[in-house]
Symmetry: C2
Subunit: 220 residues, 2 copies
């Protein structure tokens, strides 16, 4: 049973998926505390609905990022958190937090990293014209969206996609892979070698492929 601290800034749909998977018995984890850096967000309401302790720590009350992270750290330690989950947490995390939780801070990013780090990824992807997009759960390191990759999901991008339709397609996969990454951690399967993360004892993914647009010439 791993103790989670979940950091949020918004609606918390990934938080909800984790809550649902815990309640369904799919995750050997419990959420000890939900912390939002923004007051009034819906993620806090989700925590209350499920009787999960929650609080607001506004980054605006701290002059330096490090001071904000020190406060986060104190609260996480008080709640005996082992693994920190960034579920749509829109703040850069500093070494103050990362050095206290080495390879124990996980983030989800709505792109196939290392493609499309940063924000506004769906519109950027549509405009770039990529044929595949996806999402990535990774351990957080001191760079922006650069940490070791735990799990990824890939989906096609269609000619008529908008940022919204692409976001919706990716979000479905986010809700699965974040929980899967947490369970891999809970089972002690994640081994970090250099910047590779290996999942020990998990059957290999099928030797499959996807092509977009689809191949039609072999029908001739």
């Amino acid at each position: 049973m791993v103790n989670l601290g979940v950091l949020v800034s918004g609606s918390g749909s990934n938080l909800q998926a984790i809550i649902d998977n815990i309640e369904a018995g799919r995750l050997d984890a419990q959420i000890k505390i939900v912390i939002s850096n923004v007051p009034g967000v819906y993620a806090l309401e989700r925590a209350r609905t499920h009787a999960i302790p929650s609080m607001v720590i506004s980054h605006k009350e701290y002059k330096k990022r490090e001071d904000f992270d020190q406060k986060l750290l104190e609260v996480l330690k008080t709640h005996e958190v082992e693994l920190v989950i960034l579920a749509g947490f829109m703040r850069i995390v500093t070494p103050v937090l990362l050095r206290a939780f080495p390879m124990r801070v996980m983030n989800i990013h709505p792109a196939l990293l290392p493609s499309f780090p940063g924000t506004h990824v769906w519109q950027t992807e549509v405009d770039y014209g990529v044929k595949f997009a996806g999402c990535t759960v990774h351990f957080v390191d001191e760079g922006p969206d650069t940490g070791p990759i735990i799990i990824q999901a890939v989906v096609p991008v269609y000619d008529d996609d908008t940022a919204d339709t692409l976001n919706a397609r990716i979000l479905k996969q986010e809700h699965k892979i974040f929980s899967q990454a947490i369970q891999l951690y809970a089972e002690g399967r994640l081994k970090v070698q250099g910047r590779r993360v290996l999942a020990e004892g998990i059957p290999q993914a099928p030797d499959s492929f996807m092509i977009n647009p689809p191949v039609t010439i072999f029908e001739r």
Copy 2:
């Protein structure tokens, strides 16, 4: 029927796939000339075996890239080439060629662009720890591996992969998507909007996904 000029620098396995698909009647295309910038490469032997005209134009005999490209251009025009195919051609193409063939130079890159442009991509991917890799056929523009994307294929990367095993897995897909891109061009289906390439009249790829490592929590 579209007239192809194929530029090569090495063994030419993508050239072979195109030849095979033409001979099988899957491509409305003919190869008018194969040009290698390196003497003695196996791609030239493949052309001879299939009675396709071929020649060597060594870049070493030209002081400037533009002069080399001017010579390429002359030979391509002489052979009435409409679409230029870079099949493992290890030279940067200049505007001399690109402006004569606007959106009519195609390249294949063994990565899911915009991830991993450049060379030695397989080892870089393994070391980076990405869970998916792939290949991309794109129109060539004046940047390095930056042109509008026509088609992509994606495959998983396994924990025990080496550069060689990953290369082999990707190469299988390269051999399909390069021919498919050529046929989409031959059928007049490719519409470039900004930097997006739309494939008109082709059924949408299935609304599918792949996850790596695979999700096991829903089996609980």
